[in-house]
């Protein structure tokens, strides 16, 4: 595990991985978009508006997944003081914030025609908005200190505290009456989505996941290079 986590080794193996991640992302988005927009059927209740699901649901899943990954990496950085873990946490935050924003915006665009409103303050929508603010808070706190180590530690604690929001988002639709409907895919009794719509959704989710890994690898490389620049500058100034 630590063999891959050394920053220089990471630069080497992620460099070899990048073109594959890029190719997988583009291929999966190509097939996924074809299925989502053209090959999949309309819904018996929602008609063609159901196609918004193919971007809304993967964005919402990734918003949660990304947060758990960010908090996990932040915890590893906090406990074991591993520099690469701090970098992974920092690099995940803007990607997760983008996914959360997309989930909120595409949700509004879906809610207006189906529910009759862009936004309501129900438990699901509100807790996802809180998730968005947690991401923004993490990004702000992480860069608020001159010493990047202190920024990483302070923001890691925020990320861990915010972790309680994740089960609240997931189960809000089961615990309380919400306008948002309960889960369709990960639910007791199996998915309530017909396979002709489930497969396009899973492909789009795979595309979003590859996109996350690709951009994460690029951003982590960027952070490692920034660390090297900082180290060289210090050497130049004091060496």
């Amino acid at each position: 595990m630590t063999r891959f986590a050394n920053p220089n080794r990471f630069l080497r193996w992620s460099g070899r991985l990048l073109p594959w991640l890029a190719a997988a992302t583009i291929l999966l988005f190509g097939v996924g978009l074809y299925l989502a927009l053209i090959a999949s059927p309309p819904d018996y209740q929602q008609g063609e508006s159901v196609r918004i699901m193919y971007v809304h649901v993967p964005a919402a899943w990734m918003a949660l997944f990304c947060y758990v990954a960010m908090a996990g990496a932040a915890a590893v950085g906090l406990i074991w003081r591993h520099p690469l873990a701090d970098i992974v946490a920092k690099a995940s935050a803007p990607i997760g914030a983008a996914f959360t924003l997309l989930a909120l915006v595409t949700g509004a665009l879906w809610g207006k025609p189906m529910w009759g409103t862009w936004w309501v303050w129900d438990a699901r929508l509100t807790s996802v908005l809180v998730l968005f603010f947690l991401y923004l808070g993490y990004i702000a706190l992480n860069s608020a200190f001159d010493d990047p180590g202190r920024g990483a530690r302070a923001s890691a604690i925020l990320a861990l505290v915010g972790l309680v929001n994740v089960p609240i988002i997931k189960f809000s639709v089961d615990w309380w009456y919400t306008l948002h409907q309960p889960a369709s895919v990960i639910r007791a009794g199996g998915p309530a989505i017909h396979p002709s719509m489930l497969w396009p959704l899973l492909l789009m989710a795979a595309a979003f996941t590859c996109y996350y890994l690709w951009v994460l690898a690029v951003r982590v490389r960027g952070e490692i290079v920034a660390h090297k620049i900082r180290a060289l500058r210090l050497r130049q100034a004091y060496g």
């Binding site: 018996y44 209740q45 406990i79 009759g116 972790l163 009456y177 306008l179 889960a183 719509m197």
Partner: protein
């Protein structure tokens, strides 16, 4: 090595306490987070006065009556109790008999006067042909939870194209 373990214990205990606090918080706020009340809640709550509330449930089969203009009357049911609703305005596309609905307004003399009506959809997704085939095969109730929630109520009258 020792400091690492200290930090690990600190984070683990902290997360445990945080989880406990969150669980207590969630169970304490309980129903106050609910976006709407069911017709049964409404009946148990007694006099609400002029308070603005939301009532949610299913649009009762065969209860929709169109008045003049955009006035519409229907009943919202949770299959135990139901409440009559009157609303003047544009209804969302998903508003149908047997479908979920949330109305916001005030209870006036036993009738719920709605200012806003939102549709609530269930978690079932399928193509119209499949819905049609399921209905004809009479196996509709097995698809999705919402039909169970609807107490195996009859099909949405116009629930497909």
């Amino acid at each position: 090595m020792k400091r690492k373990h200290k930090r690990l214990t600190f984070v683990a205990v902290g997360l445990g306490l945080l989880g406990l606090a969150a669980a207590l918080f969630v169970s304490a706020i309980g129903d106050s987070v609910a976006f709407f009340h069911s017709p049964s809640d409404l009946a148990n709550q007694g006099d609400l006065g002029d308070r603005r509330i939301r009532v949610g449930g299913l649009v009762e089969e065969g209860s929709i009556e169109r008045g003049h203009g955009t006035e519409v009357r229907f009943r919202v049911t949770d299959l135990a109790r139901s409440v009559p609703v009157v609303y003047v305005g544009i209804l969302p596309d998903l508003f149908r008999e047997g479908q979920g609905v949330v109305a916001q307004g005030r209870l006036r003399g036993g009738v719920f006067v709605a200012e806003e009506v939102l549709a609530r959809h269930d978690e079932t997704y399928m193509p119209p042909e499949v819905a049609e085939a399921l209905k004809q095969a009479g196996t509709w109730q097995h698809m999705g939870q919402h039909m169970e929630a609807a107490g195996a109520a009859s099909m949405p009258a116009d629930g497909y194209q």
